[in-house]
Amino acid sequence: MTYSSELSELIEEFKEIDDKMERLEMVFDLADEVNLLPPQEWSEATRVVGCQSEAHVRVEVINACVNLESGADSKLVQGLMGILTLAIHGTEVAEALKLTPDFATEMGVLNTLSPSRSNGFRNMFDKVMRQIEQIQGD
């Protein structure tokens, strides 16, 4: 699948890093890429179920483009949210729905994390995609 230039660059950047600490540092830095959903707006509706941390996402479609807001009590989880933000925020709905979680596998970012964190990422991805589909169907 073809990715946006920003996501493609990120995938390449991750692939080039061998050191686990450097990869984690990159994920930490990407936490700043989210459009922050502040804790006071977290609710059961925004919660990512199956994530060990408190992880919350809110999806809207504005002018046919995805608007993703997210936040977590873990910087690493929020970093994963940052990656997803770079991947789909501001893209057209039809384009966003083509994305699969394979991009994170290709990036190698999931191998850096524990199995529970990797599952958490997939749960977050699924929740976001389901919400986009739901909004599109409404």
Binding site: L24, F28, T112, R117
Partner: protein
């Protein structure tokens, strides 16, 4: 000592493994691994009835574990189970169902591991039994005054010897003395204490004691329930099947009268053989001196972490375990654990299967460093050095 453990030579992400998750499970010496391999390579057979040479060797190997347990812990009855959890469940099913009824009470503490809470909640629901919980006080000890007032009318006290979260060692002699006065039996969860202390089952005076092999350098999937003679007589068979019977006819069955009555089916033979080697390994070191050494390292670690602004949960008295549970004021514990793993440090985060205790402490989890006899002060110092680096870069 460290050369006995092959895994300690391993590198993680290019860095030497510093294994600090021993309250979850310990590493295995080569003697344990070799003994299990040797059983499968040379003596594999089922135990007890067959007359051939391999069956004899397998039986001897399996029963040697029971003998070693009896010698080490000074007990007449050692039932081999799959671990602490099954041992506690066995008490609930084999003793609890037969001896507790509507309106009886069981005392638990807020410090218990889930494996010493959930089986009793299930039994309480089934038999309408009251569960009374002894609170943990601010100094992280049990409220013994409340324990004394709660014991009236209780038939069983279930208490953890050493907390897997705090490392706090509970006053078992005092608890047994109070329970005895009121005719209550005592079940001791010794999962964290049996690996660190020389425990004399008869002297300590509890009726049941449950623990696992894998926390004392033995294999996973095996543990034991030590039982006092009178309590053993009050237990009814729980699981039915092969090995636990004397005779079976279409009209009914009669049961073994020894520990095998509670060991239905083919037992964990290789694991028992491995555990025997682990017990031998433990006998080869001075546990008291080694415990004192790692407790000193835990105290040093706790003081350094406090100085760095961490919230440390534990007191590290002489009989406590070398466990240091702590929280960074703002950084997520799992994030820290990932960063530590990047340089080979293995630690644990989360609720440690003790949610009622964490509720009492008003936290949802901790980052836990737990030491065992093969850990060194140098490892603890390298942990602090690297942890400081992490905080400088990420906090």
């Amino acid at each position: 000592m460290r050369e006995d453990f092959p895994i300690l030579q391993r590198k993680i992400n290019g860095y030497p493994l510093v294994y600090l998750d021993n309250a979850a499970t310990t590493q295995k010496p080569a003697s344990v691994i070799n003994a299990m391999n040797d059983y499968y390579a040379n003596s594999n057979a089922n135990v007890h009835r067959a007359v051939h040479t391999l069956a004899g060797e397998a039986t001897e190997g399996y029963e040697s574990c029971r003998t070693a347990l009896k010698e080490r812990f000074n007990t007449d009855k050692a039932i081999i189970t799959s671990g602490t959890t099954e041992a506690i469940n066995l008490v609930a099913h084999a003793w609890g169902r037969a001896n507790l009824s509507d309106g009886d009470a069981i005392i638990l503490t807020e410090m218990e591991h889930h494996s010493d809470i959930v089986p009793w909640q299930m039994l309480a629901q089934e038999k309408n039994i009251e569960l009374r919980y002894v609170p943990v006080m601010e100094d992280l000890t049990l409220d013994m005054e409340l324990f004394e007032s709660a014991i009236e009318g209780a038939k069983l006290v279930c208490v953890v010897h050493i907390s897997n979260v705090l490392g706090v060692c509970n006053p078992i002699e005092e608890i047994v003395s109070i329970a005895n006065k009121h005719g209550a039996k005592v079940l001791l969860d010794a999962a964290q204490s049996a690996p660190h202390q020389d425990i004399d089952f008869k002297s300590i005076g509890v009726d049941f004691m449950a623990f696992s092999a894998h926390k004392m350098c033995g294999p996973t999937g095996i543990g034991a329930l030590l039982v006092a003679d009178d309590a053993f007589e009050e237990m009814q068979p729980f699981m039915g099947g092969g090995d636990m019977i004397e005779t079976v006819s279409i009209h009914g069955s009669t049961y073994q009268t020894n520990e095998q009555k509670f060991e239905a089916g083919t037992p964990r033979i290789a694991e028992a053989i491995g555990w025997t080697e682990a017990l031998n390994w433990l006998s080869s070191i001075n546990i008291v001196a080694e415990h004192k050494r790692i407790l000193e390292s835990a105290r040093w670690l706790a003081s350094k972490l406090r100085a760095m602004g961490m919230n440390v949960y534990g007191r590290h008295d002489d009989h406590d375990a070398a466990v240091v549970s702590f929280l960074h004021p703002t950084m997520n514990s799992e994030d820290l654990a990932h960063l530590l793993d990047a340089r080979g440090f293995a630690v644990r985060t989360g609720h440690h299967c003790a949610q009622p205790l964490l509720d009492r402490l008003q936290i949802t989890g901790t980052l836990r460093v737990s030491l065992y006899f093969y850990n060194t002060q140098e490892e603890v110092e390298s942990f602090i050095e690297y942890f400081s680096e992490i905080l400088e870069r990420f906090a």
